[in-house]
């Protein structure tokens, strides 16, 4: 069981480091924030392209707007809300976590959990 123990220990430590480091990006400047947000927005006039990657008129307008809103001190979720009110949730590549999309977000992890429990049980039985 030495091996298992070692494995667990390593995984645990790695996990900790991972958790600790994933929070370390507080001081983003506006351009980074704009990039991060517009990468997750759909260019409505293009075929499945993000606003960030697109040079269409529409994308240029939205990029300007997002930048301006960030300068005004709006948060990412406020800007998203503003855009959703006008263009619908279709503009968001990352679906909102709301009632309608609950199944979408819960499904992968729920089914994984169920199958894992099922497997552990059937292995125990033997």
């Amino acid at each position: 069981m030495k091996f298992n123990h070692a494995c667990k220990l390593i995984l645990k430590n790695l996990f900790l480091i991972f958790i600790l480091t994933s929070g370390v990006h507080g001081n983003e400047n506006v351009n980074d924030k704009v990039k991060k947000l517009t990468l997750e927005l759909r260019c409505m006039t293009c075929q499945n392209q993000s606003i960030y990657d697109s040079d269409a008129d529409f994308s240029i307008d939205i990029k300007k707007l997002v930048k301006q809103k960030f300068h005004e001190g709006k948060t990412e979720s406020e800007i998203k809300k503003f855009l959703v009110e006008r263009y619908g949730e279709y503009i968001l590549f990352r679906p909102l976590i709301n009632f309608k999309n609950l199944f979408l977000w819960l499904f992968p992890f729920t089914i994984l959990a169920i199958v894992t429990v099922f497997l552990i049980f059937s292995a125990r039985k033997k």
Partner: protein, 174 residues
């Protein structure tokens, strides 16, 4: 339990086929997403007239009116195609307020365009930097909105209007 697992692929298949069937039958167009503004209130706006900088129109001026709002520009070719249809609408429904927003256009070009093609609009508002279009969720010209007396957006159409669209969608709502 085992039975359920074995039958689930069939159920999933059935659900998928049913929904895609409805999607195809419902004539949904992947390139034309339904408007987020449907059944919402008319967004507030303030716009100068194309012909006279002094005249200003706001959403408050349009209370209790049936309105059709059309976003157009002189550089937009499909707009030219639907243009004559607005004359027909104006003739058929004299009470209808036809509001045109001139989108990202030079005033001179827009005036020439309306001179050549005629002006069916009750009011032509200027939307030079596209900010009004943004509030209406417009992203490709032409787009047309239908607003009822209560100030609710009841219909939106992307692309040039056709006789069929006017007959099937717009007239029943007027």
């Amino acid at each position: 339990m085992k039975r359920i697992i074995v039958i689930s692929p069939l159920i999933i298949l059935f659900i998928i086929c049913l929904f895609t069937l409805f999607y195809i039958i419902g004539n949904k167009d992947p390139n034309k997403p339904p408007s987020a503004l449907l059944n919402k209130n008319l967004p507030s706006f303030t716009s100068k007239s194309l012909f006279d900088n002094e005249i200003i129109l706001t959403d408050n001026d349009l209370r209790n009116k049936k309105i059709i709002i059309n976003f157009f520009a002189s550089w937009c070719t499909p707009c030219k195609v639907e243009h004559p249809l607005f004359f027909e609408l104006a003739e058929q429904y004299p009470d209808l307020y036809i509001l045109g927003f001139n989108h990202k256009d030079a005033a001179k070009d827009a005036k020439n365009y309306l001179k050549d093609e005629g002006n069916p609009y009750t009011f032509v508002g200027v939307d030079k930097d596209g900010l009004i279009a943004l509030d209406f969720g417009v992203f490709g010209l032409p787009e047309t909105f239908l607003i009822n007396e209560k100030g609710k957006i009841v219909y939106k159409y992307m692309g040039p209007l056709t006789d069929k669209i006017i007959k099937d969608e717009i007239q029943p709502r007027l």
